[in-house]
Point group: C2
């Protein structure tokens, strides 16, 4: 396999993982997956959580049994288009639910999407702004996941959201995205007080939020008022029990003789973080207690069947230990990136918590 | 089986469940349990979480492989003595770590243990008090789990802790324990402002904390300053994925031909909550959005391999939805009642979070 193809395959699979938690490994008709969504592992039967909404239970059953998002494809452009189409499927109902305007702009030399409430930002909110960093495994999601993450908060908070089209892999590697976020932040600081800016993102965007905070600190820039690390942790997305269990609990069970593997395992290879060192707090902020001790108030959002759940809990505890104001909200049985689906009551509950958190911390 | 024996068996098993998450079902030498503590379910291998401390990993491995707390016994007095001995095993290192004095007293006609920092409560803390409600499935733990829950906070917060020896099953049923807590609270209110009182408990004591808050409300009593619902949720301990997965992930796997069941399943029968209605907020406070909307600031503490974890997450979200200040801290891989073991760094981290939370909310 040539290097370019290995790159492509790796990144495409990573992008898929960022949404789906694991590539589909089990054949359809696996007897371990009940028609009601129950996952059976060696006599341990895990039904859909009774603490989820009916809508979320039906959607999770669909994810487990139908695996509607398919499998990543090796060609990067094709995979990005495929992921954009998935995002469009989330954006359509979202735009019917939340009235916003969307415009393209360039800030600090970086392309951004500007999402504002329909009818404009109210005068008393014109001095505040949210920065969004989209998900997609540092490979996909530009200008698409961006909108899905920005629309609800722009409408609910009646605020301007600037979503950054940061550089991604495989064309670029760490710290290219952090540099782009810094450029946008510096430009916004010419017009907004730092206490009137909050920054957030989901999945790769949640991780990048933490990286950006560390970079602002290293560059002597002031903290924003608050941060949202959603579907992610301060040091990535993995670790602990959730990383092992999220895939199987979403129906991606290990192959067996009667349910053989249908897709190859992810190829090893370089990705956006390949050149980063594990002890570099600009790459993995949790590596430095001193760096995270200077973080602004931070909100974590996750779900128990999300591969980042354990790592997010762990990051929340680390911030508390460092004396930083930190909040954690998790939803039982919910999967990676569930907040992209505004049809789910749990997602809308999460938006309300995000809006309340940012509103509380944006200075009056 | 006569009724008395069924009662005894049920309650003893419940008491054991409160500490151990499930009665041991699998034989020793189960090939699904690796020597390193890995739990294997149908090809899904769940190792000990890499996010746990070394001490907690070693202890969890011991729990999974050795099941050191054995099995509940049918005789209530014998089971209580057995659980008291287990608690003494936690209390001994705790008393070496935290210097406190312990005295018996009677407040509002109810027997209590008074735990105070060695050398006495500092003058500037003499106007504040914590009420502790011990765990033990509403059957065991009187005067023993009480101390294990009270000692660290008395020492760390330099505060008086009053631990209530409330009436339990099978001799008594709901709402006997709530009545006893109310009696103690009323008596303390003659000497302390409500804003200088916080209330907390672990397991049954965490559930009882929520019941007591609902009862205070119904009786027109003022709220205490804060509450701690540890190892529990606002409506008990069960629900969601954690209730299904905690047992297997602690090594209590379903029986198989090669690893047959070695203990009988819990007998069905009446327990402390048998006479309570699911829609009665005095019994299950989560049943009423109006009741929980009046709750004081509340802290939840749990672990992801604890059967109450999902329910605790859910209660935390419900309080946030109701506009109540709520905090949630969970530790990956940790088991029900891990805070009883002060040798674990995670337990000591939890004490620090509890102390900080209560200190913040006790009025100056």
């Amino acid at each position: 396999m040539n290097l370019r193809l290995r790159f492509a395959l790796t990144f495409a699979l990573l992008a898929s993982l960022a949404l789906l938690s694991a590539a589909p490994l089990a054949a359809q008709g696996d007897e371990r997956l009940g028609e009601d969504g129950t996952v059976r592992m060696d006599g341990v039967s895990v039904p859909l959580s009774n603490l989820m909404s009916e809508e979320a239970r039906e959607y999770l059953r669909h994810l487990i049994l139908d695996k509607p998002f398919g499998t990543a494809v090796p060609d990067i452009a094709e995979e990005r288009a495929r992921q954009d189409a998935i995002m469009q499927g989330f954006l359509d109902p979202m735009r019917r639910r939340y009235a916003v305007d969307i415009a393209q702009d360039t800030i600090g030399g970086v392309v951004v999407d500007i999402v504002t409430p329909a009818g404009g930002v109210p005068a008393n909110h014109s001095d505040r702004v949210l920065i969004n960093l989209h998900g997609g495994g540092f490979v996909t999601g530009a200008r698409s996941a961006s909108l899905v993450e920005a629309v609800p908060l722009a409408a609910l908070m009646q605020i301007k959201v600037v979503s950054v089209d940061y550089r991604m892999a495989p064309e670029h590697g760490f710290p290219a995205a952090s540099e782009d976020v810094e450029s946008v932040y510096r430009a916004l600081l010419e017009h907004y007080e730092p206490g009137k800016i909050a920054i957030y993102g989901c999945s790769a965007g949640g991780f990048l939020t933490a990286q950006a905070l560390a970079r602002f600190q290293a560059q002597g820039l002031p903290n924003p008022a608050a941060a949202g690390v959603f579907c992610a942790a301060l040091d990535g997305y993995s670790g602990g029990d959730a990383t092992v269990l999220a895939g199987p609990l979403l129906g991606f069970l290990p192959p067996t003789p009667s349910a053989p593997r249908t897709a190859p395992p992810p190829a090893a290879g370089p990705n956006y973080m390949s050149s980063a060192q594990r002890d570099d707090p600009l790459a993995y902020p949790l590596a430095s207690a001193e760096v995270i001790a200077q973080f602004p108030p931070t909100l974590f959002i996750s779900g128990t069947r999300s591969f980042e759940f354990s790592a997010a809990l762990n990051s929340h505890n680390a911030l508390a230990r460092a004396g930083v104001e930190s909040r954690f909200h998790g939803w039982d049985g919910m999967f990676h990136g569930f907040i992209y689906n505004s049809d789910l009551p749990e997602a809308r509950e999460a938006y309300a918590i995000m809006a309340d958190f940012f509103q509380t911390h944006l200075a009056d």
